[in-house]
């Protein structure tokens, strides 16, 4: 009996890593939060503010940018992702 593999195939997409900055000192950090702030319990925007304070103390020259996805269940919109291409590092997360 001859079979057909039901698993489809890998998409031919360019999945290269973003360009590395080498030894260049990072200047701009982006925070991308999957969700907004909660009344109760942890939330990632609050965590990013803590991170920003810690990083600022250690690296005074850093600047920060913060975005919250409009809908947590969807990938970030392309224009939002494009903004982060300008940054030297991006931290994305969801607090639980």
């Amino acid at each position: 009996m001859e079979l057909v593999d039901p698993r489809g195939r890998e998409a031919e997409v360019d999945r290269r890593l973003a360009p590395r900055r080498g030894t260049k000192e990072p200047k701009r950090i982006g925070f991308l939060s999957n969700e907004g702030e909660h009344l109760t319990g942890p939330h990632f925007p609050g965590y990013t503010r803590v991170l920003e304070d810690v990083l600022s103390e250690r690296f005074a020259h850093l600047t920060f940018h913060r975005e919250i996805k409009p809908v947590l269940s969807r990938p970030a919109e392309p224009d939002m992702i494009a903004q982060f291409l300008e940054y030297d590092g991006v931290i994305n997360g969801l607090a639980k």
Partner: protein, 373 residues
């Protein structure tokens, strides 16, 4: 096994080896399947009216590419017939709409899954069940095979498997197969027409929702009761606005399935599809002070407690605000089906505002009538 760690599938096997091979390679969620035999898959591709190598885009969460042949292979495993293929493909086309957010539907912690609703002339043509045991296939091959094909394709191509990456907490029995058909003898226009879709050959609507929660009309006076329809709708509204479901807290869309006798009674008492939607939208509401609570049990109505996903029309500062469970009356989807015996209704809460919104596609003309048009 993740989708990126794939053991090759031997392309020639002894038929008796398929069951264990399918489990060994993780090609099924646990239920037995038919082998995706070349001849069967070819027949299913032919039944689609499309070329086998035509791409249907990528399926989440894996992002692997699905062709018509790939979908047909999963449909073969599900037991589909060639005439089922246009329904399966139309369902996938609808689920690929960005508003459906299939990636989220598949991987969410919430127990929702795409319900496939077939309506119009295709229901009779495909011999779909619309009577007893509606949500468990009704004894018809088409209902379960179509639902199963969708599950298996998302499993095998999309890689939608528990834990990695599917985070669904409690699960949903409909994730095995979730397909119903609308009865042909509804007192109102067919479901797809109510959604503005002209479909002479029938239509497919996908809607991500929870398992049906049944409303049995206990405690009503049924003899000479001109208010019976409205009283039944009050029962429906109660269940639609239960605390804890996503609609009550985030709105979005919801579905209600009426049995034919339930719908006939409503229609005989003057209810139309539109008046029911409006009535349910006005009555399926929950007091804000019951929805959001502070630690001491008092209403959480301060600015910090605001839900930014609710429209501005909801006064979030007043605990007495009655909050609707859908964005609008039109977001309450009404379908007529099930056994034509005891009047019943089924409420199907959704994933709220996060996705899985009802999306409808017209079916092409059947190949027997000259092929897709």
């Amino acid at each position: 096994m993740t989708t990126t760690e794939r053991e090759p599938l031997p392309l020639i096997i002894d038929p008796g080896d398929w069951p264990e091979l399918s489990y060994k390679l993780g090609l099924t969620d646990g239920l037995p399947t038919f082998p995706p035999q070349r001849e069967v898959v070819d027949a299913l591709v032919a039944g689609s009216g499309l070329a086998g190598d035509e791409s249907l885009g990528t399926l989440p969460p894996s992002g692997r590419v699905a062709t018509v042949r790939d979908i047909a292979a999963n449909a073969a495993m599900a037991g589909c017939l060639p005439e089922h293929m246009p329904v399966v493909l139309a369902a996938f086309d609808a689920m690929q709409a960005p508003r459906f957010n299939l990636a989220g539907v598949v991987a969410t912690t919430h127990p929702c899954w795409p319900l496939v609703v077939v309506s119009g002339s295709a229901v009779q043509r495909l011999e779909m069940a619309t009577g007893e045991s509606l949500f468990s296939g009704g004894g018809a091959r088409a209902n379960l095979a179509i639902g199963r094909a969708i599950k298996l394709a998302i499993w095998n191509i999309g890689g939608g498997r528990p834990h990695q990456p599917v985070q669904e907490i409690l699960g949903h029995p409909g994730r095995l197969a979730f397909c119903i058909a609308e009865a042909g003898d509804t007192p109102w226009q067919p479901f797809h027409e109510s959604r503005g879709v002209d479909a002479p050959h029938g239509a497919v609507t996908v809607f991500a929702c929870e398992a049906p929660q049944i409303g049995n009309p206990w405690g009503f006076s049924t003899s000479d009761n001109p208010n019976l329809g409205g009283q039944w709708l009050g029962m429906v509204a109660d269940q639609m606005s239960a605390r804890g479901n996503s609609n009550t807290h985030t709105m979005g869309e919801a579905m209600v399935v009426f049995t034919p006798s339930f719908a006939r009674t409503l229609a005989e008492q003057g209810w139309t599809r539109q008046s029911i939607q409006e009535h349910l939208w006005q009555t399926a509401r929950r007091r804000l002070g019951d929805i959001r609570l502070k630690a001491d049990g008092s209403p959480a109505v301060d600015a910090a407690s605001r839900y930014d996903w609710w429209p501005d029309s909801v006064d979030q500062s007043d605990p007495e605000t009655r909050v609707p469970v859908t964005w609008s009356p039109q977001d309450i989807h009404l379908v007529v089906s099930g056994a034509d015996s005891i009047p019943c209704a089924a409420m199907l809460p959704s994933w709220g505002h996060l996705g899985g919104f009802a999306t409808t596609r017209a079916l092409p003309a059947p190949l027997s009538s000259g092929g897709p048009k």
